[in-house]
């Protein structure tokens, strides 16, 4: 029952070590075009200020806490979402430019655009007449 309440009220603060907290994997779509990689992740109920994105070395971390608006005195009677946290990590490859990642969160869907390094994009080489 405490799990249910947690899912609905998603209380934060006074939480223990965050690495040990339970989290579920968000579902993602990942696709690549000439300019870079796009990642879409389903993060329903995660407000912008509870979303954390970080790049450590070549690893991209996505973490978010579910915090729906709940009225005073809410008591859970049925819960399918019991773990109010999403977490997933991805290994980036060298030709991606992790310093230029663009992120957008709209209606619970995170869109990440990771461009390729300029030198990794296809380029035509002019041949000089000698």
């Amino acid at each position: 029952m405490s799990d249910d309440k947690q899912a609905l009220q998603a209380k934060t603060g006074s939480e223990p070590d965050r690495e040990s907290q339970r989290a579920v994997l968000p579902r993602v779509d990942v696709f690549e075009s000439e300019s870079g990689i796009t990642l879409l992740a389903d993060l329903p109920g995660v407000p912008r200020d509870k979303l954390e994105l970080k790049v450590e070395g070549d690893t991209l971390w996505v973490e978010g806490t579910v915090e729906p608006q709940t009225p005073e005195g809410l008591e859970a009677i049925y819960a399918e979402v019991r773990v109010p946290r999403f977490r997933r990590s991805f290994t980036l490859s060298r030709e991606l430019d992790s310093s230029k990642v663009e992120a957008n969160l709209k209606d619970g869907v995170l869109t990440l655009r990771i461009p390729k390094q300029a030198h990794a994009q296809p380029r035509r080489i002019a041949v000089q007449a000698g």
Partner: protein, 150 residues
Amino acid sequence: MFDSLLNSPSSLFGDFERLRRELDDVFGATGFPTSIRSVAPGTLPAINVGRTANSIEVYAFAPGLDASKIDVTIERGVLRISGERNAGIPENDPKVTVYSRERGSGSFMRAVSLPDDVDPGHVRASYREGVPQVSIARRESAQPKRIAVQ
């Protein structure tokens, strides 16, 4: 219906689900009754239901919907939430390579049977951060009352 978490690659639950289906095939389905509207585990959107002294709150975890296409109805004590989601991956683009396709698309519907004490005349629905939330008032007769002792 959004396709299930069970289809995700490298998902432990996917392996469990396959095992469960194989066991069902061998031993036949188990005799435990389930709710007539229950869905396979992992089917989206997931639903949470809560109550306060004066309302019932239903949360559906359905990200990426067009808010104008979400349909909420209450009929004979059953709340239905339906909607539709477009695919996030561009279709038929030869320059696009798809590595992962776990997010489902298409239309979905979830139904919740409500307690008898709700008042279908007082319903509020909102869509925030990918969560359609429906709040249905409970009738006054169901709300806690203090009785004066003579």
